[in-house]
């Protein structure tokens, strides 16, 4: 009851479904901010789905307020109800993870955080959630996530499967997720070429110097000619202001250097130490 949301500033009328926001214990001294929205269908029988945005280090409030949550925001920061919210069919739990992300926090300074630590903390947070909301403990349960959530989701799912806590775990989903660094990077060159990011000459160079008997290695190739060919491809992908998140869309705000972009880009080509100049401030034509 203390976590029940009774008003949402900017919203003239509260929606008919209930919502809670507060904190879950995610291991000793770690407190994860959660926002739980009841299903607009039948909360008692609809599944419970936890949603995790990626980064690593990015907030799941983006998932709620800009993606699949019931409350979205106009450009002026005023909220409105999203007619395509995933809580039309499920009870949705948005978790800010790990500690230090969004409004989640830790009682102590963490020197480092790892994939395994995040999985364990998320697992603890889920147990804390079901302790707080026992009425939902028999509902079917799913884990969903996006981007670096491609790491969070299966690692958390493995904890659930192996753990002693009794979840009615039915499945998991990953959207545009990190599943394999190798496959993501190998296919990126193909994706970029067949979408015209670079042309035949560079593609021929990449194939000639990075591929052998039909298998290409753009990931940790030691052939200097391959690395020489990858660099201009990398510059085309990252250095000219393309919107990496949505290829055909404009880059809002222009191509200025911003942290989130670097965070997401750090998932790609991490084996190389490319020093690509940060795009100059200014709008993209």
């Amino acid at each position: 009851a203390p976590d029940l949301i009774t008003s949402l500033p900017g919203l003239s009328e509260m929606p008919s479904f209930q919502q809670w926001s507060g904190y879950l214990e995610a291991g000793p001294g770690h407190y994860f901010h959660y926002w739980f929205v009841e299903s607009q269908g039948n909360p008692a029988t609809d599944p419970v789905v936890v949603w995790l945005n990626g980064g690593p280090g990015c907030s799941s409030m983006e998932g709620l307020l800009a993606e699949n949550g019931p409350l979205h925001l106009n450009d002026d920061g005023m909220p409105y109800l999203n007619p395509y919210s995933w809580n039309k069919v499920a009870n949705m739990l948005y978790l800010e993870s790990p500690a230090g992300v969004g409004y989640s926090y830790s009682d102590f300074t963490q020197s480092s955080i790892s994939d395994n630590q995040v999985a364990e903390d998320n697992y603890q947070a889920l147990q804390s959630f079901f302790a707080k909301f026992p009425a939902f403990s028999n509902n079917d349960f799913y884990v969903f996530g996006e981007s670096y959530g491609g790491i969070y989701v299966p690692t958390l799912s493995a904890k659930i499967v192996k753990g002693s806590a009794n979840f009615n775990f039915k499945g998991f989903g990953v959207g545009n997720g990190m599943t394999s660094y190798y496959l993501n990077e190998v296919t990126l060159m193909e994706f970029a070429y067949y979408h015209g990011v670079f042309g035949d000459e560079l593609w021929a160079l990449l194939n000639k110097n990075c591929c052998y008997q039909g298998t290409c290695n753009y990931i940790n190739n030691t052939n200097s000619n391959c690395i020489t060919a990858i660099l201009p491809a990398y510059e085309r992908l990252y250095g000219i202001g393309l919107n990496m998140y949505n290829f055909y869309a404009p880059c809002w705000g222009g191509a200025n250097y911003q942290e989130r972009y670097e965070a997401d880009l750090s998932n790609l080509f991490h084996q190389y130490q490319f020093n690509v100049p940060v795009p100059k401030v200014g709008s993209i034509p």
Partner: protein, 148 residues
């Protein structure tokens, strides 16, 4: 913590309002909300480079999985996810075929035993943001285990 190319201004404005923080029961001692934490990212240790072993283990249990991709994203492109799901070597139940939303092709999907690979046509990295109707239909079909 402000994303490049993405307009997160509204979230920054709204989530950092005092009355919103109170409504969400956020302690006043906490600093402002940021979309992404540079501190977490800086201190983060990546362990797993390939999630296939996790999928192989999980799919031995009574679980279902969905791997979906907006097909105009370059950070985690759909070809990589498609090859990843293929690499799990699960028996294919339905070959590559379109799925529909409002009588329009909404993307393509392939169904394997316990796992489905699905694309959302014209969607970027954040699928439910760019194609909300299609995303909801996909989600509903997965949860109800009905065809896309």
């Amino acid at each position: 913590g402000v994303p490049r190319c993405i307009n997160a201004t509204a979230m920054y404005i709204w989530l950092n309002r005092d009355d919103v923080r109170q409504a969400l029961h956020i302690p006043s001692s906490l600093t402002n909300w940021e979309l992404c934490s540079s501190q977490v990212r800086t201190h983060y240790k990546r362990i797993y480079m390939d999630m296939a072993p996790f999928y192989q283990t999980l799919l031995k249990h009574d679980l279902r999985a969905l791997v979906y991709n907006g097909d105009v994203d370059m950070l985690c492109n759909f070809l990589g996810s498609e090859k990843f799901v293929e690499s799990l070597n699960k028996p294919m139940l339905k070959s590559y075929q379109p799925w529909y939303y409002n009588n329009q092709i909404a993307g393509f999907f392939k169904e394997y035993e316990k796992i489905t690979f699905l694309t959302v046509k014209g969607a970027g990295h954040m699928v439910p943001q760019y194609k909300p109707g299609q995303a909801l239909k996909m989600f509903q079909c997965f949860l109800s285990n009905t065809t896309y």
